[in-house]
């Protein structure tokens, strides 16, 4: 699971007021080489919750010098786009857990795949 995917995931435990962001515990992280595609990163940035990305990357020790706040006019800042590319796409959590921020329910990440099933599917 890449940090971009973590950025999109919400816990859907019934009754939990807010399931976002999920707390990420990384037991095994692998770094992949993904071809740098600046157009993709630029388009994707508008969909990313930057604060969540920053805090999560920091928590698992893969901040890669990305800034705490997303600056305006980053479209032509290749150095920034490369860092964002690395944090979004090249850091992959292979084993670990996602934890619902409200209910504290743990979801396992195994072989890079998060299991968001609740057991009995009591989701909405």
């Amino acid at each position: 699971m890449r940090l971009l995917t973590h950025n999109m995931l919400t816990s859907h435990v019934k009754g939990a007021e807010s399931g976002y962001p999920l707390i990420l515990e990384a037991a095994e992280v692998i770094l992949r080489n993904v071809d740098f595609n600046p157009e993709f990163i630029k388009r994707m940035l508008s969909k990313v919750n930057w604060d969540v990305l920053y805090q999560t990357a920091k928590a698992i020790g893969h901040l890669n010098d990305i800034p705490e706040q997303l600056q305006p006019n980053v479209e032509n800042d290749e150095e920034f786009l490369r860092k964002a590319h690395h944090v979004l796409l090249e850091v992959e959590v292979k084993e670990g857990h996602l934890i619902c921020p409200t209910s504290k329910k743990k979801f396992q990440i195994s072989n890079g795949i998060p299991n968001m099933l609740l057991g009995e599917e009591s989701s909405s």
Binding site: T5, M8, T10, Y20, D35, F40, K47, I113, M116, E121
Partner: protein, 214 residues
């Protein structure tokens, strides 16, 4: 233009044989429909990716400009999707074990450009649809519609203004009635391809938001 069919030879071996539905006529008809459409999406989700053949195939069409996510309720199928993606050198395929799009819909509301769904469409007794093994790949309950109907209510929220929703269905699911139902939630749809495969009359349906029709 013809795109290569993804390699899925690992499906006939352990641990996938008997646990993951192999690519069959429904899968191949889905591929034919997808390669006829040219679009430039940013986020593509396949719901119930199973073997992973379809998500791997569409990545050849849409290329690395798109972020691919696949879901499956069957953990073995989820692992199979990853293996198919790797085998076919897919740039990035994220897989999540979940029920339909649970866990994704809050953040992705209005942001998904392509949703693909080859649902469990076989008409079965309702009680057969509760599992998360290989039966989840085909058991569709009454009219084969019980699982796909649950996704239909979510699709209009997930789709981006120019987003497209592709669905596999059979005659017994009443495709014309599906199109009418989706019309009521703001999606305009049509049958874009059909094929008779043995006893199955297969259809590919495509939907978009009515206000974006050209």
């Amino acid at each position: 233009m013809d795109y290569p069919t993804p390699s899925i030879s690992h499906l006939s071996r352990k641990p996938y044989v008997n646990y993951v539905y192999d690519a069959a006529e429904d899968t191949f008809l889905f591929m034919d429909a997808l390669q006829n459409d040219a679009i430039l999406p940013l986020i593509c989700i396949e719901v119930g990716s199973g073997s992973g053949a379809i998500i791997s195939f569409i990545s050849k069409i849409l290329g690395p400009e798109c972020y691919y996510m696949a879901t499956d309720i069957n953990p073995i199928a989820a692992n199979c999707t990853i293996d198919t993606a790797k085998l076919n050198e897919m740039p990035q395929c994220e897989v999540i074990i979940t029920d339909l799009v649970s866990g994704l819909k809050d953040r992705l509301t209005g942001n998904v450009d392509v949703i693909l769904f080859n649902p469990p469409y076989v008409v079965t007794p309702s009680k057969e649809i509760s599992g998360n093994g290989i039966e989840a790949s085909w058991a569709g309950g009454e009219n084969g519609r019980e699982v796909m109907d649950r996704l239909f209510t979510i699709v209009p929220q997930l789709l981006s203004p120019s987003g497209l929703f592709y669905l596999v269905a059979i005659k017994e699911n009443y495709p014309d009635e599906i199109i009418k139902t989706m019309k009521m939630v703001g999606l305009s749809g049509e049958i874009i391809l059909s094929r008779k495969a043995g006893r199955e009359n297969l259809f590919i349906l495509r939907f978009d938001k009515e206000n974006s029709l050209s």
